[in-house]
């Protein structure tokens, strides 16, 4: 989670807690009032004050932005973009990989570089040493 997202989530959570508590106190205050003390036209009494409504809406928007910023980054779905980024990550030093953090496309938990098969193919066969091994084996009597 990057620091801006953490800060936004913290502020949003604080605002939301305060708004919910204020709304609860408001309803508790007017619920215990005797009916004669309430002003006539009671819908105005039961409806929330504008500042609590605005605080709730603001906290929801701030938390939304925070949650979207804190969510893990999306990965490209086009094969060429994805494979290119994995290929570049393979050549990075561990420090560069660590700096990239969760913006990495490859890494643990993924299928990894699709070109690794080509990187790890077998080298040439040493025919001379194999022939010598076979000749030695025959000379020893041909028993394995």
């Amino acid at each position: 989670m990057n620091p801006i997202a953490g800060l936004l989530n913290f502020i949003g959570f604080l605002l939301l807690t305060h708004a919910v508590y204020s709304a609860h106190e408001h309803s508790a205050l007017f619920a215990n009032l005797p009916p004669t003390a309430a002003p006539t036209g009671s819908p105005a009494v039961t409806s929330l004050p504008t500042d609590i409504v605005l605080e709730t809406l603001a906290s929801v928007v701030v938390l939304c932005v925070g949650i979207v910023l804190a969510s893990p980054p999306l990965k490209p779905i086009q094969w060429r973009v994805w494979a290119g980024r994995i290929e570049r990550e393979e050549r990075m030093t561990p420090e560069q990989k660590a700096r990239l953090g969760n913006r990495r496309v490859g890494g643990p938990g993924t299928s990894g570089n699709p070109f690794r098969v080509l990187e790890e193919r077998m080298g040439f066969w040493d025919v001379r040493s194999k022939r010598k091994e076979f000749a030695d084996w025959v000379r020893e009597g041909g028993k394995s």
Partner: protein, 110 residues
């Protein structure tokens, strides 16, 4: 060969990334849906205004994912942005929205 098949053969799609993006979107929607329920219960919404509130805020979340998480280029991250980003995973988290909506409505109005 169908045109869509031909397009997929020329520009293949990585299923692993598609699933990762879908899961990320679902997580975001689940978390924000519970949050919207808290707000709706606190505001004391009832009946259709409550569902309208969810619809409006879901559009807000889609817009945030479109412009912030996907850098304004959703076609890079979603195969069909209209269906998978703007309409994707909206109805699933509705149940968690109704849950927290009714819970906080009851808590605040008690």
């Amino acid at each position: 060969m169908l045109p869509e098949e031909r397009e997929l053969a020329l520009n293949p799609i990585v299923q692993e990334s598609v699933q990762h993006n879908k899961r990320t979107l679902l997580n975001t929607r689940n978390m924000t849906a519970s949050l919207f329920g808290v707000a709706a219960g606190t505001l004391g919404l009832e009946s259709y205004p409550g569902f309208l509130f969810y619809a409006v805020l879901s559009v807000l979340v889609s817009a945030l994912v479109h412009f912030v998480a996907a850098d304004g280029r959703p076609e890079r991250y979603f195969y069909r942005p209209g269906r998978e980003l703007w309409a994707g995973e909206v109805l699933g988290p509705l149940s968690s929205y109704v849950l927290t909506w009714t819970l906080f409505y009851g808590l605040v109005r008690a």
